[in-house]
């Protein structure tokens, strides 16, 4: 399992080198969106309208942060459970997004979309909101402020630690890891 440092936006060249189980330190700009925001973003794409950010090579972080303390760019910001975005992610990948950060397993349609569009599903440590929030150096709400924690934010990350769960070759770390450590009677 290899370690990489990557800067967004990601290209197919970036994502194709990654394999399930690799660890990556992400740098650059990423965008936050979870349930309600995804519904709106995918509706825009399907109507052929512009998104509030450039989707090409983008990495989307499934997160609903806590309110920032005075002087901080963002509050605690760990990943939320990703399967709730399963019905939206294939569309996002089809329109050019290259990465997603969340926690928990994805369905086969998302895994197939990762293969087809050179997308990566990264896992971050759930519940490590204080640690991950500190890797975010700036944050700005760029759409849907009325959604509160679910608003779309443009954030800058520095050495944000993630692990490759689903790669562009159809591998799944959750399955691989479990098979390795399962004890069968």
């Amino acid at each position: 399992m290899a370690q990489y440092t990557l800067t967004t936006p990601l290209t197919s060249e970036d994502t194709r080198q990654l394999k399930a189980g690799d660890t990556v330190l992400l740098n650059g700009t990423i965008f936050t969106a979870r349930d309600a925001a995804h519904k709106r973003l995918v509706e825009l794409l399907e109507k052929g309208e512009e998104l509030p950010f450039d989707i090409e090579g983008s990495v989307i972080y499934f997160v609903g942060p806590t309110p920032p303390k005075p002087g901080d760019p963002i509050g605690s910001a760990g990943p939320t459970t990703s399967y709730r975005m399963d019905s939206y992610s294939p569309t996002m990948l089809r329109y050019g997004s290259k990465g997603m950060i969340g926690k928990g397993k994805r369905n086969q349609v998302v895994k197939d979309a990762c293969k087809e569009y050179d997308g990566i599903y990264f896992g971050a440590t759930g519940g490590a909101g204080a640690l991950l929030g500190k890797k975010i150096t700036s944050a700005e709400v760029i759409a849907y402020p009325e959604l509160g924690p679910e608003a779309v934010r443009k954030i800058t990350v520095k050495d944000f630690p993630v692990t490759v769960i689903n790669d562009t070759y159809g591998n799944d770390l959750y399955q691989m890891g479990r098979e390795q450590f399962e004890v069968k009677d």
């Binding site: 896992g123 640690l131 890891g177």
Partner: protein, 283 residues
């Protein structure tokens, strides 16, 4: 009759919410530390290391441990010789909850079930709290509190078995629930199992079982043995920290058992993530 001021309850509740949001309880911290030492998967080991580092940062810098600051859940034992002066106990707990979530910059996670609208502007901040009351003898109020996150709550399940299912049926059911959950509830988890009673009694018992300190032993030796058996079976699943594969999927299994109807064997499984924010105070 002992009189307790409404505002005294508000302040006590506010304080435990602020404290729990940023400071992982010692029982959980110790259990995670031990899990990091015994975990055989390097990937899972690194995840648990990050979880512990996160707890240290949260405590030192007073930051929320997790962005999912949960719904506020209370088990409250009210002495029959206590009177709240200046309002209802329920209102005092809700007011303390609102203040705690606001003062500690915790996230407002309560919403209307269908519109999904956040209720902050209508009935308050992360309200209403989930409160289970019990009346006991005495002149004190005993409050158990936990912040319950959505990821782990979403994988919880309940089922009523025929009595013939017995212990084997329960062990297999809990294993099935945790196996299906995989990494979603943020393992290493604690598993609360409510056995017996009625359908809803089993569910409430499984939640209450999560409030017990990790490392405590069930007073009933038969239940203590069943807890050990289920824990071993869960850890054979190989799910590991955050589902990345490993030997430590659960830190503990806690059972609460109740007498039940001759026709029924209700069982509820309630899951708690590694960020087990819970505490206990007496007023």
């Amino acid at each position: 009759m002992r009189e307790i001021e409404f505002d005294e309850v508000v302040k006590a509740v506010r304080d435990i919410i602020v404290h729990c949001g940023t400071d992982l309880p010692q029982d959980t911290y110790d259990a995670l530390k031990e899990a990091m030492e015994t975990e055989k998967s390097p990937v899972s080991k690194e995840v648990i290391r990050q979880i512990l580092e996160n707890a240290d940062i949260a405590k030192d810098e007073k930051r929320p441990l997790c962005q999912d600051t949960g719904l506020a859940v209370f088990f409250v034992k009210v002495g029959d010789e206590v009177k709240i002066k200046g309002g209802l106990l329920k209102d005092a707990i809700n007011k303390g909850t609102e203040q705690g979530y606001t003062d500690a910059y915790l996230r407002a996670s309560t919403c209307e079930p269908f519109s999904r609208a956040n209720l902050k502007d209508t009935v308050g901040y992360n309200l209403p709290a989930i409160i289970h009351f019990d009346i006991v003898a005495g002149d004190k109020i005993d409050i158990e509190y936990a912040a319950k996150g959505g990821g782990s709550e979403n994988v919880s399940r309940a089922r009523v078995f025929p009595p013939a299912a017995g212990k084997e049926g329960i062990v297999n059911y809990v294993k099935e629930v945790i196996s299906d959950a995989g990494g979603n509830p943020c393992p290493p988890i604690t598993v609360g199992v409510g056995i017996g009673g009625t359908f809803e009694k089993a569910c409430i018992s499984s939640k209450h079982a999560l409030f017990r300190d990790i490392g405590s032993v069930n007073e009933d030796p038969e239940m203590a043995e069943l807890e050990t058996t289920i824990l071993e079976e869960i850890n054979k699943l190989g799910i590991g920290a955050m589902g990345m594969g490993g030997t430590k999927t659960a830190l503990a299994v806690h059972i609460e058992s109740n007498p039940c109807h001759i026709a029924s064997l209700p069982v509820s499984v309630n899951v708690q993530c590694h960020s087990s924010r819970h505490t206990h105070i007496t007023i």
